[in-house]
Amino acid sequence: MKYPKALLFPMILFQLGILAFMVFNAMRPLQTGVPITFKTQPVDPRDLMRGNYVRLGYPFSEIKLHEIEHNLQEVKAFKEGDVGYLWLQPDGIYHKSYKLSKAQPNEKDFPFLKVYITDILSEYSNIIRLKAGIESYYTDKENALALETMRRDEEITINVEVMLAPHGVARIKELQVVK
């Protein structure tokens, strides 16, 4: 070995530190956030790394720009992967999209969601697609298939309760099946 053996200890601590930091970040919205509810539509995909999970689609995943407030120049300047902020407004038991902005909002009256632009505005469409990092719900195979089946039942509504941290990061708390 070319280096002193003791040098490997901080490297391993660094790995463990990364894991601890990620757990801390993952848990923070669950502990400091406020609960809000979205209606969702799950589908059941699988892959090797993710295993069994359901893909969740939200009303804000695909937004028609004329339905929300926005600054067109700002929205046109978005690139894929850019961060944006989606302002939310209570709508019955749910929250609906109210405004999309590039800058983080200051107002405390509106909860807002930190989102990533996944599909930018084209010349021919006024639709913009967004992701908030809460699009995957990991579960076992039976549950994933059951959720997929429930989606087709018109009498069943599937809601997601998320915890929204003050800085806009959301974390899924639970999936609620309502008859």
Binding site: L7, I18, L19, Y53, G81, D140, R171
Partner: protein
């Protein structure tokens, strides 16, 4: 086929017998030993380490599958333990081997540790339902695995980094995203590749460098035009320039083939423009390709200036770029003419070079290129008499050249 003699035990024995029989001197034998690195252990002599590594990769895949089951019915602590327990075991075994001076065992254990570290990241994604860990999880995995890889500097860890970087950058590319982290994290990978290159590493480094450049390019130009072609060729010229920095670490044959493969790709583009294609408008100025070609020129002048294939790769790229950059509607004939001349000039150069250096592959490829050009022009020609004369003369020339080669180098 120089490369198959690398670390070859049979060749080693042959050389010993040549010395004993007085066919070659001990000094000559020593030179051959150095040229083919015969004092190094061939890879199969290290099979125990390789098999152990394969076994650990299988164990890791088993762990990934175990976690993929998503044990939703268990609480967070139990699910976390599924990932943390093997991680701590791997670290423990690694340190035990390290302090017992069993270096290979330690390298293997920490290799497993680096894999299980990544599995823990994706386990978190499951526990907390975080979608952003695809692709961000790979970034964090890389950040954690790089220091350990830098410590061991072994092929196994380097290979893991290459695979992780590929997985991450591929996802960024697919989503049309770019991360400045990618440049930072690619630097240690390139450093490790430079320290301990092998063919697999070379392959992954090229692919990863290419994907990295592509993500950067598409970030700056979300809707690229035809100038993208020059970005591709610019990267080929750049990788040709970079090749020279470690060409002494590979068999000459292998390096030469890489230079040739880069050149052939650029030649293919030149060949396409030997057809009288309608070109409505030229390409736009692309400063990224310009910078890449500039860097390629500087690095190449430093290390590759004695390699003719490098000059051709760079020269043909620049010539094609300038031709298409200056083109405007209605004045496309000179592109067609110039590309024909360039292609023919290169074919003639191959033939002359091969005769000077007794390199028959270039002799034959030069002739094939000339034939290819003749067939291509045959499809353009409407005058059957001129076409027939060209083909008859071409056939006679080919016969003459073949006889010339045989007489000069083989028959004698």
């Amino acid at each position: 086929m120089l490369n198959i003699f690398f670390s070859h035990a049979q060749l080693q024995n042959e050389i010993k017998s040549w010395v004993e029989e007085g066919i070659i001197s001990s000094e000559q034998a020593e030179s051959l030993y150095q040229k083919y690195q015969l004092d190094k252990l061939p890879w199969y002599r290290n099979s125990s380490f390789i098999l152990s590594a394969v076994a650990l990769i299988l164990v890791s895949l088993g762990l990934i599958l175990l976690i993929s089951e998503n044990w939703h019915r268990f609480n967070i602590s139990i699910r976390s333990a599924i990932g943390l327990f093997p991680l701590l075991i791997a670290y423990g075994v690694g340190f035990y081997f390290l302090y017992k001076d069993r270096d290979q065992g330690a390298e293997l254990a920490f290799f497993l540790g680096s894999i299980v570290f990544g599995i823990n990241i994706f386990l978190q994604a499951q526990i907390f339902h975080i979608d952003n860990y695809f692709p961000d999880g790979f970034k964090w995995w890389l950040i954690g695995a790089i220091p350990v890889a830098l410590y061991f500097r072994g092929n196994l860890h380097n290979f893991l980094l290459q695979i992780l970087f590929f997985s991450w950058i591929r996802m960024l590319f697919m989503h049309g995203q770019f991360s400045w982290w990618s440049i930072l994290l690619f630097l240690p990978i390139v450093y490790l590749w430079y320290l301990k290159p092998n063919r697999l590493q070379h392959f992954f480094t090229l692919i990863n460098a290419f994907l990295l450049l592509m993500t950067g390019y598409f970030f700056l130009y979300p809707e690229p035009d035809e100038s993208f072609l020059f970005f591709l060729f610019g990267t080929l010229a750049l990788s040709s320039s970079l090749l020279a920095f470690y060409r002494h670490r590979f068999p000459f044959f292998f390096i030469r083939k890489l230079y040739e493969s880069h050149l052939l790709l650029v030649l293919l583009a030149v060949f396409i423009f030997t057809f009288d294609l309608p070109i409505d408008h030229g390409i736009s100025m692309d400063w990224i390709s310009g910078i890449i070609l500039g860097i390629s020129l500087i690095l190449g002048l430093w290390k590759s200036r004695y390699i003719p294939e490098w000059w051709w790769t760079l020269g043909l790229t620049v010539a094609l770029y300038l031709l298409l950059y200056t083109v405007s509607s209605g004045t496309t004939a000179y592109v067609y003419l110039a590309c024909n001349i360039l292609f023919l000039a290169h074919a003639i150069w191959r033939i002359i070079y091969s005769i000077q250096h007794q390199y028959k592959y270039y002799f034959m490829s030069g002739i094939v290129m000339m034939l290819l050009l003749a067939i291509a022009r045959f499809t353009d020609m409407e005058d059957y008499i001129i076409a027939s004369i060209v083909f008859i003369l071409g056939g006679i020339l080919l016969l003459f050249l073949n006889n010339y080669w045989n007489k000069k180098y083989e028959i004698s």
